[in-house]
């Protein structure tokens, strides 16, 4: 934990790398800077480039799981074994997690780090997705879990880096919700 705190400040890294100017580049570099090397995911179209770049980088062990709660189990086990992880998913995947959050991550005090691409708002075309989306923040709030909705690129590295460090040092889960305002979201093309 102390080592993570001693790492280069976000601003300096941002200036040094052009890849960090995209939201997905910021996620990748924030994971790396905080020694998070295990990244299971259930994909989303918005995550395509990030997932491709994680696979291309030998620092990361990244792979798909069949369900999001499986990925939560994997990173929880890894953390107890001394290796840090984070889970990537979309809104509907988060909606499957209430049981594992309430019975594993929270009571065992595991710093579960989740990146959730937000479907269901700001131009959603599938009514079911918009309803699923409305369950997400009430679940997070009901467990008093830390969460941030990330909308601006200029704030994003600060939020990522600080949230990861807070999760690890306070041994508490965090969810970073990646808004369409940040990622562009998914739109109805035809």
């Amino acid at each position: 934990m102390a080592a993570a705190e001693e790492k280069t400040s976000p601003k300096t890294s941002l200036e040094n790398s052009s890849q960090e100017k995209s939201w997905h580049g910021i996620v990748l570099q924030s994971l790396k800077r905080n020694d998070i090397s295990l990244v299971p995911y259930v994909p989303d179209r918005i995550l395509t480039t990030l997932i491709k770049n994680l696979h291309a980088d030998p620092f990361f062990t990244t792979f798909p799981t069949a369900r999001e709660e499986e990925a939560v189990g994997i990173v929880s086990g890894a953390w107890m074994g001394g290796r840090r992880g984070a889970v990537l998913m979309q809104t509907s995947g988060f909606a499957t997690l209430a049981n594992v959050l309430a019975s594993l991550a929270m009571p065992y005090q595991i710093p579960l780090i989740m990146f959730v691409t937000e479907r269901g708002t700001l131009g959603e075309f599938n009514y079911g997705q918009s309803l699923v989306c409305r369950t997400m923040r009430p679940v997070l709030d009901s467990l008093a879990m830390e969460h941030h909705t990330c909308t601006r690129l200029d704030e994003f590295e600060f939020i990522c880096d600080r949230s990861i460090k807070q999760a690890v040092t306070t041994q508490a889960p965090v969810a970073l919700i990646l808004s369409p305002l940040l990622t562009g979201g998914k739109t109805f093309d035809k």
Binding site: A66, A71, V75, G77, M80
Partner: protein, 201 residues
Amino acid sequence: MNSTPARNTKVMNRFDLTSRLVARLKNEEAVVGGIGNTNFDLWAAGHRPQNFYMLGSMGLAFPIALGVALAQPERRIFALEGDGSLLMQLGALSTIATLAPKNLTMVVMDNGVYQITGAQPTPGAVVADIVAIAIASGLGNSAWAADEEDFERLIDQSMSTAGPTLIGVRIDDKPGVGTTRRDPVQIRERFMHGLGVREPL
């Protein structure tokens, strides 16, 4: 390994098998005990700092053990799971087969019932073969243990196999022998001490 017909295997006992497993552990191997009776019997077999007891999140014993295995590739990890729990998370078998950790041994305690909720039969009780499912999921080193001696042989064999192993055991419908002390933070912290991740305060 997959030639043993499931229904010709001896019906054994969870606590006895768990005790036999624990007795064979000489190198601080990690053991992840699934929800309910599976971890109750792990507790009753004698607490070890390298044991992790699940108090919820049914079906995640194998994913949690996979995470430990990926974090500590030099340590052998055992995971104990019930058949009802595994049926909730069959996709995990494919994930484990794809990642193929060399240090993971999975044991499925198959009694065909949700013993702890009143022994109602699982949906797979009559029709599903857990070992055949595991093999079809890509876990080639999967077998039913014919009896206690065969179980011990399969456990020993798994420790030198160059890939993940799954062992199916048919068990009776007896409840767990003990009850795990339900203190999740203490369970997690002791486990991390046992794995050498942290020093005791």
